[in-house]
Amino acid sequence: MRYVVFLLVLLVIPVFAGEFYVGELGAVFIFAVVGIAQMLLTGYTGLISLCHAAFLGLGAYTAAILLAMGVPFLLTIVAAAVVAGLAGTLIGLPTLRMSGLYLAIATLSFGSIIATVLAKWDRVTGGWSGFIVPTPVVLGHALGGPVWLYYMSLAALLFVLWMSLNILRSPIGRAMIAIRDSEISAQSMGIHLSRSKVTAFAISAGMAGLAGAFYAQYVRALTPDAFDLLISIQFITIIFVGGLGSLHGAIIGAVFVRLLPQAIALLRDDLPFGLGRMPGLEPGLFGLVLVLVILVEPGGVYGRWQKIARYLAAFPLSRRSTSTRQRSFTRSERLR
């Protein structure tokens, strides 16, 4: 019920809000789609990927290039998801045998290879001079402008949410969660580890590619540096800030990550010591937030909210100890 009301509010926002804010909210939805993709992979399957920006980029370039060739818009969205999903499978097949650390390094270098390819293969991608994204035309109507983007991204977000909820209830989703909690016990319960991991990776990459088709419409001109490592780290920041292992978290995190730069821009002139004018403030703040979240509240915003909700639900009877973290010691990941 709450969600229905929330959705209705979201549906009428463009009627009141200015074009700029509608466009920014559209970007929040796109980032939320990538956040969900990353959440399925990292938050639910426990696999780290530092190349989701590359999947986003593959999707964006695929959609934009096909649009320029005159392919119908809806087909380009599908193609974007398929291309990114295939890339995910391609990199997932050999690397997913590795443990967490090696996977992080492998995806890191895969991401930077893709970024270099996007920059150097300039006959197709336009390289550093950029690739202008054509406005999609559906049934004779040009779908330009932030309001259309807003509704299209909202639709994409709802579709991806619906899909993720279903995936998480299906055997694949259960297998993913089991793998996250213990690979060995998942394996001994008959889960085919590498197949489930590759499936999760492909789904996640495909979702990021789908988001890319819309992201291309948001940025209008694609350049390779929009899809480098720093953006991948932003996606990870989304899920850490929002809270690992919850779809709510992915959306909360996306709101945070997209709105923080806006907040900085608004406060730019009011911060003391000229701090707001320092270049590099934004990535530094992202780093700081990431560090603080990991140190102080590994559950993220949603985890903290759940603690507060539990406290309120049990109000006079709640004890401090229900939400204190257990002491833990180093568990070796070398031997697995």
């Binding site: 990292t42 426990g46 780290i48 050999p94 690397t95 045998r97 590795m98 967490g100 650390l101 090696y102 992080a104 390094i105 492998a106 890191l108 270098s109 895969f110 930077s112 290879i113 270099t116 390819v117 920059a119 150097k120 060995i184 001994s188 720093l230 780290i233 990870i236 920041t237 850490f240 320092m278 270049p279 590099g280 403030l281 990535p283 530094g284 703040l285 992202f286 780093g287 700081l288 937030v289 990431l290 560090v291 990991i294 140190l295 590994p298 002491r327 833990s328 010691f329 180093t330 568990r331 070796s332 990941e333 070398r334 031997l335 697995r336």
Partner: protein, 298 residues
């Protein structure tokens, strides 16, 4: 592109030496990764950024404060090592027992904080300082080699020898080996595991500082110089991530491959060659040259 070039042996030697010298830098950074990984099972993605901080510290001491090169370099290493010690003491120690990717992301966060702070403090323009090796060349036969490349290679060899002696012969070095093999057993034997971990961080930060000082005459010091840490990863993985000689040798191989790729292959391959090597090693031979692969017994 792709036109056949004459392979001139002298040119080949020069390429190898300059590749080996940038490879030694990769090797030193990789050594930092590997030391920390072996001891604490954490991977420090901010190692390149610690090197960047070392470069700026050396610049401040040598170019700004006007200290003697050797004194400035020594002070830099001490300062950055102390920084590494405090970093472990105050931040990373609190993450013991948490999931590995939390640590990975924490170090990524630290890296962007370091970059932002360095940018605010020292600005975004590349800076440099004069060293005793700048603009000098060594001639061996008909081959011209820059003295900076030689200084990097010699410095790396000396440092590796010193580290080897430290780990093999000193009490603290043995304690570090013990703690890295089995923390609990080392703790029972009276090794102060926490202090040992912090010291390992200090050593690895100190190595990064040395790498920065050695690199300064070749590449300018700037905020984004830490990105070569990514190439160092290729070296560490090639060497088997967890093997100390492997890290240095892997780094050198990656450096040479990079130079050769720049010479023989079309444009664009030089930048990605380290990444391609890395992926190839991970896919084909994941245990690396000197690594060991173990499986958990249930």
């Amino acid at each position: 592109m792709g036109n056949p070039r004459l392979v001139d042996p002298a040119r080949l030697v020069q390429l190898t030496v300059s590749g080996a010298s940038s490879g030694c830098i990769y090797g030193l950074i990789a050594l930092g990764f590997v030391l920390v990984y072996k001891a604490t099972e954490m991977v420090n993605f901010a190692q390149g950024e610690i090197m960047m901080l070392g470069g700026f510290t050396a610049y401040t001491l040598i170019a700004k404060a006007g200290l003697n090169y050797w004194l400035g370099a020594g002070l830099t290493v001490v300062i950055i090592a102390a920084f590494g010690f405090l970093l472990d003491l105050l931040v990373l120690r609190r993450l013991i027992g948490q999931k590995q990717f939390s640590v990975v992301m924490l170090t990524f966060g630290l890296a962007s904080i370091f970059r932002a702070v360095a940018g605010m403090g020292w600005g975004y323009d590349p800076v440099g300082f004069v060293t005793p090796f700048t603009n000098k060349v060594v001639r061996v036969g008909g081959i011209v080699l820059s003295e900076t490349s030689m200084s990097i290679i010699v410095g790396t060899v000396l440092l590796c020898t010193a580290l080897y002696l430290f780990f093999a012969r000193t009490r603290m070095g043995l304690a570090m080996q013990a703690a890295s093999q089995n923390q609990l057993a080392a703790y029972y034997m009276g090794v102060p595991v926490k202090t040992v971990f912090s010291l390992v961080w200090a050593i690895s930060a100190g190595i990064a500082a040395i790498a920065a000082v050695l690199l300064a005459p070749v590449a300018m010091v700037d905020v984004n110089m830490g990105l070569i840490g990514m190439n160092a990863f290729a070296g560490a993985v090639l060497g088997g991530f967890g093997s100390i000689p492997g890290a240095v040798i892997g780094g050198v191989v990656v450096g040479v491959v990079e130079q050769m790729a720049g010479y023989f292959l079309p444009a664009g391959f030089q930048e990605t060659s380290a990444n391609l090597v890395l992926l190839a090693v991970l896919i084909i031979y994941p245990q690396g040259l000197f690594g060991t692969l173990t499986r958990k017994r249930v």
